[in-house]
């Protein structure tokens, strides 16, 4: 098919505004999947995605559509994640497209992430087509949503299709608009091959599968290819398209979106964002890559069973292959042994990776409390960045410390302003400004320390506004701050994996809550376990896990023996989830308990 009949586009939206459902509907409408095979949220293939109802990985699909003008078009749709943590994934899919369908929920209007994604799309010079979704809901107010798009974003929304992805209303109109308003890809078929790797994935049989957008030239099996950054040459084994499963196709030509399998064995050999070129006909310039992603949250990941270190390494490397935003390096802890220090885009991202390691690789892991990256200026003038509290230099060598600050945008109905402002104050926020977008929506801007918001800020915003407010942030730099390292002692011994860096003013309440949480989370042992928080050797809080007093099966006569043994085996099984620290058995979840800073 000629490139003039190809449309590459993505769908962007705030989380939960209906991206995946609209994608389902588009596939159904173009006959890509029959209604019979329809499984809700088809592109969300990971179990976690379906369970949580969110999209994490971008998933591409190719559709053929016979438009009202009588011509057949190839539509390549790339579904994108909507959560604030996954902006990087979004920016990658945008670079492979010419257009973006912007979904706005008719009941919610413009939200923080809507705006963030629109800006990303504009940066990538995409044509934007607004679509108003969920018009079937009784509380839908499509006209107001349109007005918000015009006023807040500055897009003409007068022609925006009013759809209900759930009911399948007006989907045809969206497809027509995609064909009409989105430009066909540019590029030169006869020029040397240039293909942007926008994602990759590891297949046990085929090796690394590259997801590419052909910008110039074409590629077919038998071609010798390489990437710009590496000298290694591979022979293409298979090319194909997404339907959404992989379907082999003779070649991939300019403008198309598809995959390349080239027996690429190891993970380090290819990088998402790099450009694939033909080894026998070298293109001169690489495509602009992506802006290097910044990890915001760091934590340690350790195998629960110390001997599984290599399995964990393998798992993390494989995950990194299709999630370039995950960074890691080997680390070790006195309490937990060998493991990895990993960097993530946010807490949700961290949770997802943790879950994927456990589910997809069947490994039991311990995740330590998340931390941000602090700048430490030493007395000798040296500046270092520390994201692991146990790597902090001794106090005597620290001149001062700085912490990352974000600018946060919070969108909320005006009735919750008080609650949000209280929350921001508690989190050491500095108020910048407040803008009334219309009668029912206010934008609040705050500067906030990153370490205050990575823990539970998002949940707190949601719970204090009954789910009405939304939130987005960007890091704006470092700021000097009175920070201290707080250690946790279990049964008198410092547990390095539980240490954290906190602001001096919040150290006492934080230490107290932490000890209380740990007291609840650590099961009673055969002996009493003191749980203490300390700063520089000074104890600031203490709780006690009392010794266990009853752990016995009351009766055990002839008919009970088999059942009682099973009960004991189950109890033993539970110990698998425990890690021995000193002589204290600690459930692996405890390391995350640190997150819960307060009770709301």
């Amino acid at each position: 098919m000629g490139k003039k009949n190809i449309r590459n586009f993505c769908i962007i939206a705030h989380i939960d505004h209906g991206k995946s459902t609209l994608a389902d509907r588009l596939m159904e409408c173009t006959g890509q999947v029959s209604e019979r095979d329809m499984e809700a949220q088809l592109l969300d293939s990971m179990d976690i995605e379906r369970e949580r109802g969110i999209t994490i990985k971008l998933a591409p699909v190719r559709m053929f559509y016979k438009a009202d003008d009588g011509e057949e078009y190839e539509l390549n749709l790339i579904d994108t994640p909507g959560h604030v943590d996954f902006t990087y994934e979004v920016s990658r899919s945008l670079a492979a497209c010419e257009g973006a369908v912007l979904i706005v929920d008719a009941t919610q209007g413009v939200e923080a992430q809507t705006l963030a994604n629109v800006y990303l799309a504009l940066e990538n010079n995409l044509e934007i087509l607004p679509v108003i979704n969920k018009i079937d809901l009784p509380s839908a107010r499509p006209e107001e949503a349109k007005k918000e798009i015009e006023e807040v974003i500055g897009l003409d929304a007068s022609y925006a299709p009013l759809v209900s992805a759930k009911e399948g209303t007006n989907i045809h109109e969206v497809l027509e608009d995609v064909v009409k308003y989105f430009p066909a890809p540019s590029g030169d078929r006869s020029a040397p091959l240039k293909a942007l790797i926008f994602d990759s994935y590891y297949d046990n049989y085929k090796g690394v599968i590259l997801f590419v957008r052909i910008v110039d030239g074409e590629v077919k099996s038998g071609d010798r290819i390489k990437t710009f950054r590496s000298e290694k040459v591979y022979e293409v084994v298979e090319t194909g398209a997404f339907s959404p499963s992989l379907v082999p196709k003779e070649n991939l030509s300019v403008g198309e979106v598809g995959y390349i399998a080239a027996s690429i064995k190891t993970i380090q050999e290819v990088a998402v964002g790099d450009t694939v070129i033909n080894a026998d006909n070298l293109a001169k310039e690489p495509l602009p890559g992506y802006k290097k992603v910044q990890s915001v949250v760091f934590c340690g990941i350790y195998p629960l069973d110390g001997s599984k270190f290599n399995d964990l390494k393998d798992a993390i490397m494989k995950l990194q292959l299709n999630d370039a935003s995950l960074i890691f390096e080997p680390d070790s802890s006195v309490a937990l042994g060998f493991g990895f220090r990993c960097g993530f885009l946010g807490l949700l991202h961290m949770e997802i990776i943790q879950e994927r390691i456990e589910r997809e690789f069947g490994l039991d892991i311990i995740t330590t409390a998340p931390s941000v990256s602090y700048k430490v200026v030493k007395t000798d003038g040296e500046e270092i960045y520390v994201d692991n509290p146990s790597h902090l230099p001794p106090t005597s060598e620290i001149e001062h410390m700085e912490e990352p600050i974000v600018k946060a945008d919070i969108y909320s109905p005006p009735e919750y302003l008080g609650q949000i402002m209280d929350l921001c104050r508690e989190k050491r926020g500095v108020f910048l400004q407040m803008t009334y977008l219309d009668k029912s929506r206010v934008r609040l801007e705050y500067n906030l320390p990153l370490n205050e918001i990575i823990f539970d800020f998002f949940d707190a915003v949601k719970s204090r506004t009954r789910g009405y407010a939304s939130f987005d942030y960007e890091i704006i730099g470092y700021q000097k701050s009175k920070l201290v390292k707080m250690d946790i002692l279990l049964n008198g011994e410092v547990c390095d994996a539980l240490s954290m860096i906190v602001h001096e003013d919040s150290a006492y309440p934080r230490g107290r809550t932490l000890c209380e949480n740990l007291k609840e989370a650590i099961p009673r042992q055969l002996f009493e376990v003191p749980v203490q928080a300390a700063i520089g050797g000074k104890i600031i809080a203490r709780e006690t896990v009392k010794a266990m007093r009853k752990d016995v099966l009351a009766k055990c006569y002839g008919g009970d023996i088999t059942r009682k043994k099973k009960l004991l085996e189950k109890q033993k099984e539970g110990k698998k989830r425990m890690r021995q620290i000193g002589n204290v058995e600690v459930p692996s979840e405890v390391f995350m308990q640190i997150l819960k800073t307060n009770k709301d």
Partner: protein, 371 residues
């Protein structure tokens, strides 16, 4: 040593905590049921002809609700079919309020020499809460009939509204009226029993409170001359239950009747829990076994340890050596060392220290393999 167990699944009414197999509305079937039990015994006769049995335990349910002649015939059937020692311990579970002079006389005549009385509590309100049909007075009358005989009294701790004084009173009552043995066990709210809802509603004492009750009870029992020989069992010297000791020493036993369990030749098996099915099987000349599991060597070791560590005497390393051909101390050297705070050797016996007997699960699990 080997034991015989017979399950009599009939009761006046079902107690609120009970998850045993019993049918309060089917006492009319008692005659035919017992006939089936005799028949089941004769069906096992040939297989067990080389066994010598030292104990017979008639449990339930409430064996004392059915006509005493059925019990007499049962003992006779056991003697007829099996090699039951002349000095065998023969126990019957009885409930206060179901007993008469006539019953006791016949029991004695047929050779029953030990009784187990379900008192549970000396506080009538608590008995009502448990769904027991008797009162403290019923127990007193019953105990008078048993005067001078060898009998156990069951005492429960962890009851709704129970105080440590209530426990002391219950133990005193049992002792004053001549019990030679007291079983003091914590109420276990099993899912599916009415009392489980009390548990879910937080109406029962918590683990710490139960532990305190237990300690109080242990102290009192000791004062009264009852030695703890298993976590829930206390006896005047020489009055330990031989039948139950056999379980904890991992001896062999054969069970008859619905839901009865057996362990013979390292095979554990259980009869059906369904009364109709039991009748059908036995009347058509078949055994009524529904579950059968062969215990391998590792499983045998684990059971042996789990059971032995319940007892005050603990695990005898010589016996371990002769049963399994390996040295317990060597085989579990690292676990023993890890648990050294909580365990001890007393001669050739390895045991959990007295004060940790009530938290024994955490210690025992260290000796189990991970399956």
């Amino acid at each position: 040593m080997a034991g015989i167990y017979v399950h009599v699944p009939f009761c006046k009414s079902k107690c609120r905590y009970c998850d045993f197999t019993s049918f309060p509305d089917k006492i009319t079937f008692a005659e035919s049921y017992m006939a089936c039990v005799y028949r089941e015994m004769s069906m096992r006769r040939e297989d067990l002809k080389d066994y010598k049995f030292d104990t017979l335990y008639i449990g339930g349910g409430t064996p004392s609700v059915i006509d005493e002649s059925y019990i007499a015939m049962l003992v006779a059937a056991a003697r007829k079919n099996f090699n039951l020692a002349s000095d065998a311990e023969i126990t019957i579970e009885i409930n206060p309020g179901t007993i008469s002079v006539g019953k006791i006389t016949l029991y004695e005549k047929c050779g029953i020499n030990r009784y187990s009385v379900g008192l549970q509590s000396a506080i009538d309100g608590q008995l009502r809460d448990l769904g027991r049909t008797h009162t403290l007075n019923d127990f007193v009358s019953c105990a008078k009939l048993l005067k001078g005989k060898n009998f156990n009294v069951d005492v429960m701790i962890g009851l709704k509204g129970q105080s440590e004084d209530d426990i002391l009173k219950t133990i005193e009552v049992a002792s004053v009226f001549g019990a030679s043995h007291i079983s003091m066990y914590a109420l276990t709210p099993e899912d599916g029993t009415p009392i489980y809802t009390d548990y879910l509603n937080g109406e029962l004492p918590d683990a710490d409170e139960v532990a305190a009750m237990y300690e109080t009870g242990v102290k009192k029992l000791k004062e009264l001359g009852f030695e703890r020989y298993e976590v829930s069992n206390f006896a005047k010297r020489g009055f330990e239950s031989r039948h139950n000791l056999n379980y904890w020493r991992r001896g062999e036993y054969i069970g008859f009747g619905v839901s009865a369990s057996s362990c013979v030749n390292n095979i554990r098996f259980t009869n059906t829990f369904d009364l109709d099915e039991y009748f059908k099987c036995i009347l058509s000349g078949h055994l009524a076994v529904i579950d059968r599991e062969e215990i391998d060597k590792d499983g045998q070791k684990e059971e042996f340890i789990m059971l032995a560590l319940r007892t005050a005497e603990g695990l005898n390393v010589n016996r371990y050596q002769s049963l399994f051909g390996s040295d317990f101390k060597e085989e579990f050297a690292s676990t023993i060392s890890k648990m050294r705070e909580y365990v001890e050797f007393s001669g050739d016996n390895f045991k959990i220290k007295d004060r940790y007997l009530f938290v024994q699960n955490s210690i025992i699990v260290e000796f189990l393999r991970l399956v």
